[in-house]
């Protein structure tokens, strides 16, 4: 498993979604107190491992970004 650094992961997943909004899916996996974020467009897979005790704000930020962009109409989608 290859886990990226947060700034690289965040910019990469946002670019992936903006390029392929209908193919990209974002998953949050919770196991044994650890959270693994995975974003894929069926061609590339980007992962980030975080400890919610220290990085919960990052989880909130990325959740908010995906929720707002995925629910918007195509013309309303904004970049970072």
């Amino acid at each position: 498993m290859v886990y990226l650094e947060w700034p690289v992961f965040l910019s990469s997943v946002q670019n992936m979604f903006l390029n392929k909004p209908n193919k990209t899916r974002y998953s949050v996996k919770y196991k044994n107190g650890k959270v693994a974020l995975k974003v894929t467009d069926d061609q590339e897979c980007l992962q980030f491992l975080l400890d919610p005790k220290y990085d919960f704000e990052k989880l909130e930020n990325i959740n908010a970004w995906f929720l707002s962009n995925m629910s918007r109409l195509p013309t309303e989608q904004s970049s970072v």
Partner: protein
């Protein structure tokens, strides 16, 4: 797959996290669904599963996101930050060193 409204989804997700706080895995997946034959509206499909049970909800507009997002974060915060058990340490009782006076 059980499709429900956002409020009911949040309650079911909370129970999923509660059941698996000591063991197992819970996945939450978000995917954008575009307009098509099957879906007249575009929006965000949110799914959750523990490997056996599956639940989902569909959020069509950004206004519903503003209601749903804080609920989702509240549940994640409650279970992620409060679900990790620390190993209990056994306390050793201090040995009392009382000297007996002999007369």
């Amino acid at each position: 797959m059980v499709r429900s409204g956002p409020d009911r989804f949040v309650k079911r997700l909370s129970s999923l996290y509660e059941e698996h706080k000591d063991h197992g895995t819970v996945w939450v997946t978000m995917k954008r669904i575009g307009e098509g034959k099957k879906h007249p509206d575009s929006g965000c499909l949110i799914r959750a599963t523990d490997g056996k049970r599956k639940i989902s909800c569909f959020i069509a507009s950004s206004s519903k996101v503003t209601e749903f997002e804080p609920q989702l974060h509240a549940i994640m915060k409650a279970h992620f930050l409060g679900g990790v058990k620390t190993p209990q340490r056994t306390r050793k009782q201090p040995v009392s060193s009382k000297k007996k006076k002999t007369t």
